[in-house]
């Protein structure tokens, strides 16, 4: 049994439309698990159920062997960082961070010591007397993190904590979060819609869609072997087409093009997919894994060009680096390496 267990969680506000349907999730102690998905997929709702801010219609929530399903928010002892940071505007940084400790009726000296220590860890010591309004976005973010961590929570919950920061700060903050999380060994649930952010810091990722988890695995596995079309699309796969197994690793599409696909799969019918980055544009036809197409649209991406290429299989998107870009109307051949095609 895992440290955190969500079992058969259902949530519906009207009894007919389910926001979460039979959701199961297990998190091991010390792990940083991300809930990844598009907006409306139920990831924030799941986090709020974990926090106790929403009660599920059915199912149970267990932490460390203790059933917390009906324990109110303020007795759960979790730390939560909100997307808006939710710092108390009428309190100084020190008082914001001390708030959780005061609720636990600790004596003044202990509070002072603990707050002092966490402010040091989050590099905020010199700002203790400031009000949230006097601080920058990144600093407020750290205050929110310090406030959640100082109570030594059983679980740290992060609700898109980096989405209000600029791109550069976002990258340094996520490293910071990972560093602190590892240092304190605290089990963490992180909600995000940004796959790069999520892959970079997570031990495991749960990709969510329509109130359910589509795939729950390590970032590496999800990146390489998405298990459903939705996951594949969400993490950057494109160019989906139906294939039929001939034998072993040999497949055919409906037009008879032959493909060798290394991916292990026992099904006779499957959907093949490949990332735009992994397709090579070649001047000549080769027997296997290649189809002919005509350049339809070209867009410049900075380090490469993206082509939309008309083929028998429909439109295929390709990212290609070349000194001399192809022009609209050029005939090209697309080579899909056997180790880059996956089946979903």
């Amino acid at each position: 049994m895992g440290f955190v267990e969500l079992k058969n969680i259902d949530l519906s506000y009207d009894g007919s439309k389910y926001i979460l349907k039979d959701l199961n999730l297990t998190i091991e102690k010390g792990e940083l698990v991300s809930l990844l998905g598009p907006s409306g997929c139920g990831k924030t709702t799941t986090l709020r159920i974990i926090a106790g801010l929403i009660n599920p219609n059915s199912g149970s929530f267990i932490v460390d062997g203790e059933n917390l399903t009906n324990v109110p928010v303020h007795k759960r002892n979790f730390g939560m960082v909100f997307q808006s940071y939710a710092l108390f505007p009428h309190m100084t940084v020190f008082d914001n961070v001390a708030f959780g400790l005061k609720n636990r009726k600790m004596d003044k000296n202990t509070i002072k010591e603990k707050v002092g220590r966490i402010l040091e860890v989050t590099d905020l010591s010199q700002f203790a007397g400031r009000f949230p309004k006097q601080m920058s976005g990144g600093q407020r973010q750290r205050v929110a993190l310090a406030r959640a961590l100082v109570v030594e929570p059983k679980l740290l919950l992060l609700d898109e904590p980096l989405s209000n920061l600029d791109a550069k700060l976002r990258i340094s903050m996520r490293t910071e979060i990972k560093r602190i999380q590892q240092k304190l060994g605290i089990t963490t649930v992180f909600v995000t819609h940004d796959q790069e952010e999520c892959f970079s810091i997570s031990d495991k990722v749960a990709v969510m869609n329509n109130g359910d988890i589509e795939q729950y695995d390590t970032p590496e596995n999800i990146y390489k072997y998405p298990s459903t079309e939705f996951v594949a699309r969400f993490i950057g796969f494109d160019n989906f087409f139906n294939v039929e197994k001939a034998n072993y690793h040999n497949y055919k599409d409906i037009f008879g093009h032959q493909f060798v696909i290394d991916y292990e799969d026992s099904r006779t019918q499957a959907v093949a997919t490949i990332r735009p980055d992994d397709i090579q544009v070649v001047p000549e036809d080769s027997n296997m894994n290649s189809i002919k197409g005509i350049v339809d649209v070209r867009t410049f991406l900075g380090d490469s060009y993206q082509y939309e290429i008309k083929t028998e299989l429909g439109k295929i998107n390709v990212n290609h680096k070349s000194e001399k870009p192809y022009q609209q109307g050029d005939a090209v051949y697309l080579l899909m390496p056997s180790n880059k095609i996956i089946l979903v």
């Binding site: 303020h74 979790f78 939560m80 909100f82 808006s84 108390f88 959640a148």
Partner: protein, 279 residues
């Protein structure tokens, strides 16, 4: 802030109206209070020497204070409750809250007369339950004025505080709860401090409103329980002494401005939260 001249023109109609129909008449009333052949503040000295006048001034101040406190005690929890309800319940509650404002204050005072009078609803009720043996004189007392005025001004306080509560980020309450604060604590430690500026603004409206209220004290207070506004009316209308009425008017204006200033200072103290200093 720099305003364009065209924008300033928008103020013109209002300004002209105020100068012609408020400031000039006010000056014409106040002017005589300072002149008796030469400049003098004798009228004012006279006013403050008279213990009867001081009694009325004190009663006005006291009733305004009590009404404000009662309105805060009744209004803040109500507003908080309303802020937590669903949109539908809330608009219903808001309609109920604002309903008294739709009726004329004379009619509302009459309602209280039928309730509080010797043969009124309340007395009959208490008599029928044998709680009292004889009807009690609830009407024409400070108590009646207070009840009537609270009834009059409570909606204003509720709506003001509700407006402030609506602007408090809901995440703050949830954040407080995740940090171990129960409902009561998140109210007292987070919500209440954040809506104090709003409570102060509401209180200011109630206080100055009560201080200058005329209809309710006139109808529910009777002649024994005069307040500044009713005394002013008596001086001007019944006794025809416009100079004395002017004296009272200025005193009311000064007291009102003073009180507003005090409330503003307190509100600013609470609203600071470090905005004045730069990060």
């Amino acid at each position: 802030m720099k305003l364009k001249r065209n924008t300033m023109l928008l103020l013109l109609p209002g300004t002209v109206l105020l100068i012609l129909f408020l400031f000039l008449p006010l000056l014409s009333i106040l002017f005589p209070t300072f002149f008796n052949e030469a400049f003098t503040i004798g009228k004012y000295v006279e006013f403050f020497k008279d213990s009867y006048n001081l009694g009325i001034l004190w009663r006005t101040f006291k009733i305004s204070m009590i009404v404000t406190i009662i309105c805060v005690i009744l209004g803040v929890p109500t507003a908080y409750f309303m802020s937590l309800t669903s949109k539908r319940t809330r608009s219903l509650l808001l309609a109920v809250t604002l309903f008294p404002l739709l009726t004329n204050s004379v009619i509302r005072s009459f309602a209280w007369i039928t309730i509080l009078g010797k043969n009124g609803v309340l007395n009959s009720f208490l008599l029928s339950l044998n709680i009292i043996k004889e009807p009690v004189g609830l009407l024409y007392s400070e108590f009646a004025i207070i009840i009537g005025t609270v009834y009059l001004f409570l909606p204003i306080l509720i709506t003001t505080v509700l407006g402030v509560l609506d602007n408090i980020d809901g995440d703050l309450i949830e954040a407080a709860q995740t940090l171990g604060a129960n409902y009561f604590k998140s109210f007292t430690k987070v919500i209440l401090p954040l809506c104090i500026p709003g409570i102060l603004v509401g209180s200011m409206l109630v206080f100055t409103g009560t201080l200058t209220a005329y209809t309710t004290p006139q109808m529910l207070g009777g002649n024994k329980n005069m307040m500044l506004a009713t005394m002013l009316y008596q001086e001007a209308s019944a006794l025809g002494n416009w100079t004395n009425a002017g004296v009272i008017a200025l005193i009311m204006i000064v007291v009102t401005l003073l009180v507003m200033q005090i409330f503003n200072i307190i509100a600013n103290q609470f609203d600071k939260r470090g905005e004045d200093e730069n990060a």
